[in-house]
Symmetry: C2
Subunit: 150 residues, 2 copies
DNA sequence: CTTTGTGCAAAGGCTTTGCATGCTT
DNA sequence: AAGCATGCAAAGCCTTTGCACAAAG
């Protein structure tokens, strides 16, 4: 489904990787700030809009590039929303999950019991490391059950 | 992030809903057959390609429309893949999850312990019903740890 | 016969990329 | 001064939609 046919880049790293340090720019600082500020999912477009609104001129492409890099470096987590956008969230702070109403979008934060242990165990059994997990519950909230749409 | 500003359609259903029965067509049967056949995630494009390959002429738009309907009716589940496509899976059969290598895409099926109970409990506490859950683990597999790409 | 489903093509929306310029180091 | 980061615009992709024709009930 996902990485079907994903090319397995067989690179035999030779010398010391260049490891260019990331340059500190106003834009990157702004994105980083807004991401660490709140522990909620934000799409690239939302981040862009927010920055523009608060008087931080920034290009949409830059937001995309920055968020992608931050996600690759592990600074933030990335998931796909049901409507097909990428949503990012700072992952350093408390890792929690969501209970989402598929009708009206209402969201409730939930904290699952320690199944973090289980995830690590299972991962180890299969030789996997650097584990991240995504867990979301979708349902219909009380209001929408009372007054269903369509 | 997701349903931000999603219009809450306040429809007060009056009489008996028309409830037009879905017409049985060759295309719909083909899509339904391919989805119930295997218990794996498939994107719309994959379903389309598969059907074309096995000599079942069908339009891409039809595949999208059919899968969307089947998802709405609850026949199949829909999730978003990391690369931004919609993946569908028949949801009647055994519900399982995946451990995915974020490097090469290798996938291992996993079956979490009974936390289904927990999901229902939490959902009930918040007045949510008709719960579905999505759980995926992302990590780096043994091979990719041995020979890292990039 | 009426209504829904299908196909094709065009449009829409999110994301990525090419290239010249500006800013960081 | 050298090189990455940024902006803008164009291109790419997946998905949805409009419209005419075919098929189902």
């Amino acid at each position: 489904m996902m990485a079907t046919g994903m090319p397995r880049t067989e690179i035999t790293m030779t010398s010391t990787e260049p490891k260019t340090p990331i340059r500190r720019t106003r834009q990157r600082a702004a994105v980083s700030a807004i991401m660490t500020a709140l522990d909620e999912f934000r799409t690239a477009q939302e981040v862009h809009a927010t920055l523009r609104d608060q008087g931080d001129p920034i290009g949409l492409a830059t937001v995309y590039r920055t968020l992608t890099q931050m996600a690759e470096s592990g600074e933030i987590d990335c998931v796909r929303t049901p409507d097909g956008q990428s949503a990012y969230r700072s992952c350093s702070s408390g890792h929690h999950h969501h209970l989402i109403c598929r009708e009206c979008g209402r969201t409730v934060e939930i904290t699952p019991p320690s199944f973090e242990d289980w995830t690590n165990t299972v991962a180890a059994e299969h030789g996997f490391t650097e584990i991240n997990h995504e867990l979301e519950l979708f349902g219909r909230c009380a209001d929408c059950t009372a007054a269903p749409a369509s």
